[in-house]
């Protein structure tokens, strides 16, 4: 398997709900007007708490400093696992499950924080630029590692990077087991031909920027659902994650999903905002999913993490999470 360190230097930011009006101008540019910006990596996710924007330095330049904008201090680099045809895994699972044992678990053991961003097309594993040497030395046994520079893939090895030492040799500590929330709504993970993005512009703008102002005829929020909507435009590929209620607002013939009618349920991880320094959060949920071979998308946001599992597996995932939450008390 190959691991690519992509040629994007990313910032992770959050925009407050009230502050969105001040960022509508740059965000619409980043979403719809590709020939006005050099930004190549853009992701915007609405959660009940805020909007998380992950974007490269060209995109970040568009956001003016504001009391409504929080910026995580680090530069993050996206990693991407590319199956080079001779993958030995017999797993049919997709998403973060596929990389749980090979990437997520080893990085957690080395106390490297990861910020996950699953899309329709692939799963991006964001790591801090300052952790890169640890990442490379940790993963080079399992992977051929390449750094993408200006469209070319250049092999890298731990001796190439300034500090090849392990980040720390601490004993594995018992990780915090975070509370989880299982909202009732069903989600779909979709894509769209970028050429047809203009056709859904007004709907997408309405959903992203005006969904908090009640419509004249319909002010009632869906019961027991969670507000969650994610749009990303990365290297020209569009990915959308939305619940089935939002999906009804889009024309059915333009958005497509990998298999018809595939629906996902959400596990939101964290009772309090998780921050960016704790390690092993993704590992904690992806490892048991991998053991059960259950597919999962995983989307980190500024405050919480979100796993999406197939609807038919949600009962067993809930059981698994309950077991996990009992164990610390009994051990």
């Amino acid at each position: 398997m190959d691991l690519h360190i992509l040629d994007h230097r990313l910032r992770v930011t959050s925009i407050s709900k009230n502050g969105l009006v001040h960022f509508t101008h740059p965000l619409i540019k980043l979403i719809f007007l590709r020939n006005r910006t050099r930004c190549k990596f853009f992701s915007l996710t609405e959660t009940p708490e805020n909007y998380t924007a992950v974007l490269d330095e060209e995109g970040f330049k568009e956001l003016q400093p504001s009391e409504h904008l929080k910026v995580e201090g680090s530069i993050w680099l996206p990693l991407n696992v590319v199956s080079n045809g001779n993958a030995s895994s017999s797993s049919q699972a997709v998403g973060v499950t596929k990389i749980a044992k090979s990437v997520i678990a080893p990085l957690a053991q080395q106390h490297v924080s990861v910020f996950m961003l699953s899309t329709y097309q692939t799963d991006f594993i964001l790591v801090r630029e300052s952790d890169l040497s640890v990442v490379i030395s940790t993963l080079e046994e399992e992977f051929s590692i390449f750094k993408e520079v200006g469209g070319e893939s250049i092999p890298v090895h731990s001796q190439d990077v300034s500090n090849g030492l392990q980040k720390n040799g601490r004993e594995a500590i018992q990780p915090t087991v975070h509370p989880v929330l299982i909202p009732q709504n069903q989600f779909c993970v979709m894509s769209l031909d970028p050429a047809t993005l203009p056709s859904i512009a007004t709907t997408l703008i309405d959903v992203l920027f005006y969904s908090n102002s009640p419509k004249e005829e319909d002010g009632s929020p869906s019961s027991q659902g969670i507000k969650f909507f994610s749009f990303s435009l990365i290297d020209g590929y569009i990915s959308l994650v939305m619940d089935t209620e939002a999906q009804t607002r889009f024309p059915a013939d333009l958005l497509f999903t990998s298999s018809s009618g595939e629906l996902w349920r959400m596990v939101r991880i964290g009772g309090q905002p998780l921050g960016f320094d704790e390690c092993g959060i993704v590992a904690q949920i992806s490892q048991p999913l991998a053991e059960s071979d259950i597919s999962a998308y995983y989307i980190s946001t500024f405050s919480f993490d979100h796993a999406l599992v197939p609807e038919e597996d949600i009962a067993s995932v809930v059981d698994m999470l309950q077991d996990q939450r009992k164990e610390p008390a009994t051990s």
Copy 2:
């Protein structure tokens, strides 16, 4: 002929060029998301100086006070001349020319300020609410006057309104003759089925909100042209005024104009911003146009007035304006 006082109470505002980013959120709502607003009268015109927004009270509520927003202090009411089938005029001219003698000239004589807003569909004559009694007593000889209230047209007479006296009996003073500018670009006045507005959303957003940020590949402004773009959505009807350069950016099959290839040239009136209190500016240009039976659209903005005359008539209009500018010196 009938004159209708429409059921809209309007504000005339300007947004600074630098301030537009702060108003993108409400303006996009007013243009594209009709079911999120009760605004029924909305017009936005970009000029080199600023953006002029004319909108009813529901629309005005969407604009947050800001150092970038100037608001003319009055409530303005739109008047509309409706031909009731037995019009005696033999004129083929359209636009403000048609109402120059019957409306514009008498109001100027009574020192009533007007703010004109020609659209693809009709010409709105905006007058201050405080001038309404003068307007009615001035125009009721020529017109049957109706006030639209909740969808019904109610006849009004000068004795119905609180103050039927003429505004003032001052002698006609020699009006200021303002300098004019004749830009080189050609304009078209177009419309669009509101159902197809979403299809041009990204292009319209780009032109309206991002035309000042140079594109990567093309940062050169057109030579000798003036930046002028007007969009209005009034009672469900869309009107667009743009130059032929902007027109090339829109799909040719969605925008329509009254006769194919009809092009207009602009006369911008005013060397310094005109303000709102001077009377007779529209009359000064529309009367000679009426005498020559030359059609004209007329669009007032916060700083300047703009007449659009047919391309084939621009030479005679220029001659006419030069004569007008010589007369005060020789009289």
